[in-house]
Symmetry: C2
Subunit: 587 residues, 2 copies
C-alpha cells in the first residue's frame, strides 16, 4: 500500500510516481488548493490536490486530521520560495492524483501538536494517540536500536540468549514480590522474579559460559518518575572471567553503543573506590560532570567552641565537610534558604555557609553567620583548603557521616544544575571496592549488593571481622546515574555459608530459600560473575528523557484509571473460588 515512506522522500525522487499511506497530520485550504501534510513513521510529506482532479480534490477536501489515507501522486519540486528547510522533505511536495480514505477519525481528544496543553492524564488515557507524536516515536525506535545493538554485540562475543522463568519462587533481592496464586498447588503462590539472578548463576553452573537476556523484572514498589513495577534489565553473566574481564567487555559494549548511536566516544572509564566516591562526592554514583567536591575539614574544626561543628568532628561516625560553589557568592539569601530546606529532606539540621567577598582582606572579606563561632583563623584555613576565591561560596555539612554525605551529595547535584556548573556532556566511571556489608536498622549487617556477591577476602577473614571487608562488586555510573551493577559471585559453598552466617541467615533458612543454589555449588560451580544494566535508564539517558513514561510504550501510572490497558481489573467470585482465595472485608 506504499512505495515509499512519507518521511523518506527527497529531491532525488522528483519526477517519480509514488504511493503513500499514512495519517492526515494537517489539512490546509489555500488559494483554491488543498494541502495535506501526510504522516507516517518516517516523517511528514506535503501533498497538494488541485481542483482539476475533481474526485480526489473532493475527497481531499473532506478529510480531517488523523484520517488514514492511501494516495498516488507525482513527486515534484516545491515552487521556489516555498521550500521548508526545517523539514527533511521540505524541498519536495507530492501532486496528489488518486486518494482513498482507508479509515476516518473522530476529532481526537487532543491534537499531536497541542500535547503540551493537555494534562499527562489525558495523554496517558489516550496513549495510542500520544504514541503518535514524533518525539515518542523517535524514542521508542531508539530503544529498539539500543537493544538490537546490544544483542549483536553480545552475540558476537559468544553470549547466549537464554530465557529464564517469569513464574518462579521468591528471589532474594529484598524488595516486595508480586505473587501469583497457583490453581494446581492450592494455597501456594508463584512469585514474579525481581531479577534472573539465581537462574543465571545456575546457568553458569551448567556450563553455558556466557549468558545474556533482556529480561523483564518485577518489584511491587510504588511508582516514581524513573521507576515502574515492571522494568527491563540487560542481564549478563560469564564464567571463568574476573572483574577485569567483565568490566572490560561491558565497558566496550556501552562505549560502542554511544559511538554508534550518538557518535560520542566516552573514552576509557575511570575507576573509583567506593570510599573515595563517598569522600569526594558523598555518593556512590557521583556525577563527574560536576566539578564540585566535598572537602573534609573535621581536623580544622575539632577544637573550636562551636558544638555544631566540633561534636561531629570528634565523633568517629561523624563528618564535617565543605562544598565550595564557584561564583556562589551571588546566591541570594532566599536561594540559600531554599537550599537549607532542600538539605533538610536528607536529615541535615541546617546549612552553614561562608561567602568569599574579598580574600585579600582576610577574615574581614568573608561574609557568614558562622565565622564568629569558628574563629577567623579556622575560617581562613578552611578557605585555603577548599581553594576558595573571591566570588565563591562555601557550604558546610556537619552531622553523622551518612547525613552529611546524603545532604551535601544531593546539594552538590542541585547547585551544579541550578548554576550550570557541569563541565562536560558525558562522564562515565566505574565505582569499585564496595563494602561487603552495611549496617541495618537493628545493628546487624546486611549485604550491600546481594548475598551472592564474592568478598575480596577468605571465608575465615570474613567471619572474623566482617565490618569493613570489601566485595568484588562494581557499578557502572554515567552522569550520576547507576547504569549497571554487578559482581564476581561466590562459587564456593564454604564462602557462601560464611556470608549467610555473617548475615544471620540460619542454615535452615538458607536451605529453605537458596537450597537449590547451595546444592548447585556442591557439584562443580565455576568461578563466575556478571552485571545487570537497567535498560529503561539507559534509554532515558541516551534520549535525554526526564520520565520513564517517555521510553516505554505502555507505562503504568499511580491512578488505575489513567491507563486503561494497564489497570488491574476485577475478578469474579468464581475465579477466586477456583484459586481458593477469599478477599478480606475492607476494615
Amino acid at each position: 500500500m506504499r512505495s515509499h515512506y512519507c518521511g523518506d522522500l527527497r529531491k532525488e525522487h522528483i519526477g517519480q510516481d509514488i504511493t503513500l499511506s499514512g495519517w492526515v497530520h494537517r489539512r490546509r485550504d489555500h488559494g483554491g488548493v488543498i494541502f495535506l501534510d501526510v504522516r507516517d513513521r518516517e516523517g511528514i510529506t506535503q501533498v497538494v490536490f488541485d481542483p482539476d482532479r475533481e474526485a480526489s480534490f473532493a475527497l481531499a477536501d473532506s478529510v480531517r486530521n488523523e484520517y488514514v489515507i492511501e494516495l498516488k501522486g507525482l513527486v515534484r519540486a516545491r515552487p521556489e520560495g516555498t521550500e521548508n528547510s526545517e523539514m527533511p522533505t521540505g524541498a519536495i511536495e507530492v501532486l496528489g492524483k488518486e486518494l482513498v480514505i482507508l479509515n476516518k477519525s473522530d476529532t481526537p481528544p487532543f491534537q499531536l501538536d497541542d500535547h503540551q496543553q493537555v494534562g499527562e492524564d489525558v495523554r496517558l488515557r489516550n496513549r495510542f494517540i500520544d504514541l503518535r507524536r514524533p518525539e515518542i516515536q523517535r524514542k521508542l525506535r531508539f530503544r529498539s536500536k539500543i537493544t538490537h545493538y546490544i544483542r549483536n554485540y553480545l552475540e558476537e562475543n559468544g553470549f547466549l540468549d537464554i530465557e529464564t522463568p517469569i513464574l518462579t519462587r521468591a528471589t532474594p533481592e529484598g524488595a516486595r514480590d508480586y505473587l501469583v496464586p497457583s490453581r494446581t498447588h492450592e494455597g501456594h503462590f508463584f512469585a514474579l522474579p525481581q531479577s534472573p539472578q539465581l537462574f543465571k548463576q545456575l546457568l553458569m553452573v551448567s556450563g553455558f559460559d556466557r549468558y545474556y537476556q533482556i529480561a523483564k523484572c518485577f518489584r511491587d514498589e510504588d511508582l516514581r518518575a524513573d521507576r515502574q513495577p515492571e522494568f527491563t534489565q540487560i542481564d549478563i553473566e560469564t564464567s571463568f572471567m574476573d572483574e577485569e574481564g567483565i568490566m572490560g567487555i561491558t565497558e566496550q559494549m556501552i562505549r560502542g553503543l554511544f559511538l554508534e548511536q550518538l557518535n560520542v566516544d566516552l573514552g576509557d572509564f575511570p575507576r573509583m573506590p567506593y570510599s573515595e566516591a563517598m569522600q569526594r562526592y558523598g555518593s556512590d554514583k557521583p556525577d563527574l560532570r560536576n566539578p564540585m567536591e566535598l572537602v573534609d575539614v573535621a581536623d580544622l574544626v575539632a577544637g573550636v567552641d562551636f558544638k555544631v561543628f566540633a561534636a561531629p568532628a570528634t565523633d568517629p561516625k561523624g563528618r564535617v565537610a565543605a562544598l565550595k560553589v564557584p561564583g556562589g557568592a551571588e546566591l541570594t539569601r532566599k536561594l540559600i534558604d531554599d537550599y537549607t530546606k532542600f538539605v533538610s529532606i536528607y536529615g541535615a539540621k541546617g546549612l552553614a555557609w561562608i561567602k568569599v567577598n574579598a580574600l585579600e582582606n582576610g577574615a574581614e572579606g568573608l561574609q557568614s553567620p558562622i565565622v564568629k563561632f569558628l574563629g577567623e583563623d579556622v575560617a581562613l584555613q578552611i578557605m585555603q583548603r577548599v581553594g576558595a576565591q573571591n566570588g565563591d561560596l562555601v557550604f558546610f555539612g556537619a552531622d553523622k557521616a551518612k547525613v552529611v554525605n546524603e545532604a551535601l551529595g544531593a546539594l552538590r547535584i542541585k547547585v551544579g544544575e541550578d548554576l550550570n556548573l557541569l563541565t562536560q556532556e558525558w562522564a562515565p566511571l566505574w565505582v569499585v571496592d564496595f563494602p561487603m556489608f552495611e549496617e541495618d536498622n537493628n545493628g546487624g549487617l546486611t549485604a550491600l549488593h546481594h548475598p551472592f556477591t564474592a568478598p575480596s577476602c577468605s571465608p575465615d577473614e570474613l567471619i572474623e571481622a566482617p565490618e569493613g571487608k570489601l566485595s568484588r562488586a562494581y557499578d557502572m555510573v554515567l552522569n550520576g546515574t547507576e547504569l549497571g551493577g554487578g559482581s564476581v559471585r561466590i562459587h564456593d559453598q564454604v564462602m557462601q555459608r560464611a556470608v549467610f552466617k555473617v548475615l544471620g541467615i540460619s542454615d535452615e533458612e538458607a536451605e529453605e530459600k537458596f537450597g537449590f543454589l547451595l546444592n548447585a555449588l556442591r557439584y562443580g560451580a565455576p568461578p563466575h560473575g556478571g552485571l545487570a544494566f537497567g535498560l529503561d535508564r539507559l534509554v532515558m539517558l541516551m534520549t535525554g528523557s526526564a520520565s520513564i513514561r517517555e521510553v516505554i510504550a505502555f507505562p503504568k501510572t499511580q491512578s488505575a484509571a489513567c491507563l486503561l490497558t494497564d489497570a488491574p481489573g476485577e475478578v469474579s467470585a468464581a475465579q477466586l473460588r477456583e484459586l481458593n482465595i477469599k478477599l478480606r472485608k475492607t476494615p
Copy 2:
C-alpha cells in the same frame, strides 16, 4: 582463564601453549598416565598428565568427575593409532603442565553419560546437571541462534522491537488467566497476558507500522509435553499490508532461517483452503509428508442397507470417508484392534476396514467384516475411488463429520509414523480461508481465531448469514505442527461491532472488555494484520525434540517437587494480609 575453548582445539593448534578451563568429564588412569577429558561449552579435549611433573600429576590424580579445573599445557598430535575420529578434537591431545582445581564436586546425582538410566524426575530436580549434557547445550544454543536470526531478519525489514506489559488486564484469548493481586488497588488483580494481541494492535493505531517482540505469554492450563504455562511467541504486526504481504514476509523469514541454520530449502509454501485441508486430511494442520488422504465415499454408501454407513452418509453434518493405507494388508488383527481403540479416543464408535488381497478376483479378493453389508459392487466402487491396489488396506470413518475428521485425521498421522510412510523431511504449507466462526457447545457461534480477525465480507453480509463466512486468517503449518497463525485484523469499528454482535457480546460487555480497542478504532486505525509464531514449537521442530523440556532451560513440571526453582512457594500470613487476601479452608 582460557586461551581456547576445549572443543575448539584442532590439528592447527599443535605446538601451541594453551590454557583451558572447564569440567572434568572423565578421568582415566592408564599405563601410569592420567587422562582427563576436559569439557566446556564447545566440547571435550583429552589432557594427559605424565608422572614426571609431580605436582600437577598428583593433582590430576586427585580430581574427580565434574571438578572445575584450569590448566596450562601443550597441544600435540595424538600418538598414531589413538586418534579418535568421532571427536572433533580427536586428532590432538594436550600435554598438561600446570593444573589448578578451581572447585571440587561431590559425586553428582547422575553422570552425564548415564542420564538415560535415571528418571526424568531426578534430572529435572538436578536441572543444573542435566543442562550440562552436550545435547541440551546444543539445543539451547540453537534456540539462541534462532531468535538472533529472527531478530536480525525483522530489524532488516524495518520491524521495531517494542515491549508490551506483563502486568495487564485480562486479554480475550479465552484460556484461563494467571491473576496477580494488586497491593495498591485492593481487591483488584492484574492478569498476565495470554498474548500481546491488543497491545500490538494499539501500536499499529499509533503508527509504529511494523512491530515485533519475542514475548512471554501465559496461560493457566495444565501441562503437556508440548505445553508450558509460560511460553514464548514471536509476535509480529504490520500496517498497510494485506495477507499476501504478511504471509510473504514471514514465509521468507522461516525459509531463510531453515536455509541458514539447517541448510534446508523449504521452497515456496503451498496454500490450502481450510475446507480442503479438512476434506483431504481431516485436519487444519495437515502433515503433508504423509501421502495418505481421506476420500469421501458417502455418495457410494448412501443407499446401502448398512445403517452405520448409510445414516451419516445421508446426514448433512455426517461424513463417510475412506483412508487407504498402502501396504496395510499386512497389518495384524491385533494392530487393527489397537487402531480401533486409538480412534475411540476421538469418539469413533468403531473402525471398519477392507484388506485388498487380490483385486483381480473382484470382491472375492477383498477381506473385510463389512463387505457383506456394503454389497460387493459398492465395495469395489470404493476400492476404485481410493485407487486401492493389492496389499493395501482401507480404513473407514462414518459419523458426524467432526468425529470422522478427528479420528481418521489422527489415525492417518499414527499409521503414517508406524508404517514409515512419510515421503519427505519437511513439508510446509499455509492454511487459508478459515471459517470466521464455529459452533460452540450451546449452539451459538464462537470466533475460530479471535474476535479481532477480519472477515472476508462486509459487516452487513456478516450479520445476515454469519455461518460459512470466511475470515482473512492464515496458519503456517510445518510437518503437521501449527508453527504460527495470524490474520488481517478488523480496523473498522462498524465491522468490529458486527463481529461482537454475531458472537453475542453486548455493547456493554464489549465496552467493558475491549473499550480501549474500540476507542482506538475511532481515531484513525490503519489497515493492519500480523502473525504469532510459537518459538518453543519452532525450536522443537528444528532440533527434533520430542518434549518442550529439551528446548527451555527451566521448565515447569506437573509435580511441584520436581523442579525446585519453579515450584510455587508458600506465602506468609503477613503477605496475604497486605494483599487483603484470605485463603479458603480446603473443603
